[in-house]
């Protein structure tokens, strides 16, 4: 990427971090004018700014409903000013589907699409929200939708196109949030390596610790790089690239947190340090829109069945 573009991305990220760190819920999104960006995702800069929010979200442990809002956007042709967020659905242990709402709920309408039936739009009054208490500083609610509630949604570009676009956006955004959270855990480990003295010297002088940290930054750089490619190529990305991005992000995000935890030692496994928040944030995001295990397995089956050509062409890199 050219230097000026890189500078723009750095500025988007800095602005997003400041907004997310300074306020919660919809206020942070309003401060950035983030909702307006959802109608401009074809524009590379608007897309970059939209996604920068998620990396900031992970890094600052922000708590907004942005991921659900981004995932809901492709289902609606025009923005009528009503803020809709999507609840993320996955098969429930005892059958049926479990729905999860991420971030402080600020919306009047929730989109529910299990993939098994037509998507429906339900009013906030029609659902029961049960708080889920896990670390991560992310408000999480289990959503119970009354039977027969909601009105069917018919996306203007067709349901399959909306679902595919929603999944792409959600996966790339979740990958950025995983990246930011892993970077947060890693930053704690770096501080610890520089400051913690054992055997008369900072533990960051010991090769075993240095190499753990070098692997951790390698894990996160891989995520950053593939996610940036998805952001930049967007609809020109190779087939199922969003799944590759999300699978890699979940896997490597967890790895980076685990390596950072090992550097931190016992203090990293306490409520006194934020590592557990970053780690739990990564676990939560890995579980949304396909876990790394589910996606890698599905990708492997796809490679076997279809012998696809998932190459990134140099021609698109130069675009």
């Amino acid at each position: 990427m050219s230097e000026p573009r890189s500078r723009d991305h750095d500025e988007f990220l800095a602005a997003a971090r400041a907004a997310v760190a300074g306020s919660t819920g919809a206020d942070a999104l309003d401060a950035l004018g983030w909702w307006d960006l959802l109608g401009m995702l074809d524009d590379p800069d608007a897309r970059a700014a939209t996604f920068a929010l998620f990396r900031a979200h992970g890094r600052e442990l922000g708590d907004t409903p942005a991921l659900g809002a981004l995932a809901a956007a492709p289902y609606f042709a025009t923005d009528d000013g009503t803020r809709t967020v999507m609840a993320f659905s996955r098969p429930a242990t005892g059958g049926g589907f479990a729905h999860t709402l991420l971030g402080t709920p600020v919306t009047e309408r929730i989109l529910v699409d299990t993939g098994a039936a037509a998507p429906v739009l339900v009013e906030a009054a029609e659902v029961t929200l049960t708080p889920v208490a896990v670390p991560g500083r992310l408000t999480i609610h289990a959503v119970t939708v009354a039977e027969g509630a909601g009105i069917p949604v018919t996306p203007a570009d067709g349901l399959e196109a909306a679902r595919a676009r929603s999944a792409f956006l959600a996966r790339v955004a979740a990958a950025y949030e995983i990246l930011g959270a892993a970077e947060g855990a890693f930053a704690l480990a770096i501080d610890h390596a520089n400051g913690r003295v054992q055997f008369g010297q900072p533990i960051g002088t010991f090769q075993a610790v240095r190499h753990l940290l070098a692997w951790a930054v390698t894990d996160t750089r891989a995520v950053e790089s593939v996610t940036d490619v998805a952001r930049d190529l967007d609809v020109a990305a190779p087939p199922r690239f969003d799944e590759i991005v999300k699978a890699l992000a979940g896997r490597n995000g967890r790895r980076a947190c685990e390596r950072s935890l090992q550097v931190l030692g016992a203090i990293g496994f306490t409520a006194e340090l934020d590592h557990h928040h970053f780690h739990s944030r990564v676990l939560a995001l890995d579980a949304v829109a396909g876990t790394s295990a589910e996606l890698a397995t599905a990708l492997g089956a796809w490679v076997r069945a279809e012998r696809p050509d998932p190459r990134i062409a140099p021609a698109v890199l130069s675009a």
Partner: protein, 381 residues
């Protein structure tokens, strides 16, 4: 050499890739020969040299190199597209021509123009090949401790010393030699890069048979070998900068060229393995994507005139991870490579599997790469 560049192909990498693809689709004999599995390394070198000759005659390999040096213009993105297309048409590796993307970018950027203008077309066309003479018996990871000396004698330097793990020296015409022109105490500040003619009297090449059966590496002895001062690459005592430029490519952008062939291995040899899980195949696909994305960023940076610098080490670590995960799956699905590598395909799989266990050594051991990251990128104490 008289072929004129097509401005459309210079400007549009996609159009260039499509044109190369069209050429490959006509199945030129040199390409058809190169896609067959060839376990014998010397034969593979000959066949790949013929393919390079055909690519040069058709003009394709000249894109991506400056016109002033015998190329047809364009950038490293053209080269990335050419090898990706060749891989898609079944070429298994760059075999002996890896230095087109390790040494040649540095020669083009820092080498003596008159010499490179002759050497570049000769290399691109497969007529001449190159070796890299960095490591010595007592200077491996500690490269700055190297002792091969170059002493000025009139208008030439006389080089004496011993190099080891010199890649492709048996098959090479030229060797880029890092030699000491300063005092031993000057460490990395007293090194200079020279182009040495491997055919010159006083040069002795002893090929080393590797564990995978190939003889890509060699021990090379230089006994008072004269090298004209005009064959210095970079500046006198500026050899470290040359070495770092090469390593930026060897650890960074080269990964792009290598990953092109990984997709082929994944689709062709991993996906059939009954003992390989879907998850392992999917994870390997992710590993390749990480290499493609980070090295692709390196390609873009180099195309715009910048370099990856120490970040190239991260790309190299990711490349090693991908090599291992793919070859682990190859082994899991092909027990014959351990017990009965009787056919050419399996014999070649065995070579590649074994080589994947040593990728963490070439271009600087993995432990040195991790130290580079810890020191230069993370700035740890």
């Amino acid at each position: 050499m008289s072929k004129m560049p097509d401005p459309t192909l210079v400007a549009d990498v996609g159009a260039y890739a499509a044109a190369v693809d069209g050429w490959c689709a006509t199945r030129p004999p040199a390409l058809a020969a190169a896609v067959r599995p060839i376990p014998d390394y010397a034969t593979r070198v000959e066949v790949m040299s013929d393919l390079l000759g055909a690519l040069f005659d058709a003009g394709w390999s000249r894109y991506g190199w400056p016109e002033t040096l015998g190329g047809l213009g364009g950038s490293i993105l053209h080269r990335g597209a050419m090898w990706q297309t060749l891989a898609a048409h079944g070429v298994a590796s760059m075999a002996v021509f890896e230095h087109l993307e390790v040494l040649l970018p540095t020669l083009a950027a820092l080498g003596p123009t008159d010499f490179v203008a002759d050497a570049l077309p000769a290399f691109l066309s497969g007529r001449e090949r190159w070796a890299q003479g960095f490591s010595e018996p007592d200077a491996g990871s500690d490269l700055a401790a190297l002792r091969t000396r170059a002493v000025l004698d009139g208008d030439a330097y006389r080089i004496t010393g011993r190099k080891i793990w010199t890649s492709w020296a048996k098959y090479g015409t030229w060797c880029l030699v890092l030699a000491r022109t300063g005092t031993t105490e000057s460490r990395h500040r007293g090194l200079t890069a020279f182009v040495v003619d491997l055919r010159h009297p006083g040069v002795e090449v002893r090929a080393i048979e590797q564990a995978n059966g190939t003889d890509e590496l060699a021990e090379v002895t230089f006994d008072d070998v004269p090298v004209p001062a005009t064959r210095i690459v970079g500046d006198l005592d500026g050899g470290w900068k040359v070495a770092m430029h090469i390593l930026s490519h060897e650890r960074g952008t080269y990964a792009w060229f290598r990953q092109c062939f990984m997709y082929r291995d994944l689709i062709g040899h991993v996906a059939d393995g009954p003992a390989v899980s879907d998850r392992a195949v999917g994870d390997a696909l992710c590993d390749i994507a990480a290499v493609a994305a980070t090295s692709g960023e390196g390609l873009r940076l180099h195309a715009s005139g910048a370099t990856l610098g120490p970040r190239a080490t991260i790309t190299k670590l990711l490349l090693c991870e991908a090599e291992r995960s793919i070859q682990d799956a190859v082994l899991a699905g092909n027990a014959d490579l351990a017990l009965a590598p009787l056919d050419d395909t399996t014999a070649l799989l065995r070579q590649e599997y074994l080589f994947s266990r040593i990728v963490t050594v070439y271009g600087g051991s993995q432990q040195m790469q991790l130290e580079t990251i810890a020191k230069q990128l993370l700035e740890l104490p």
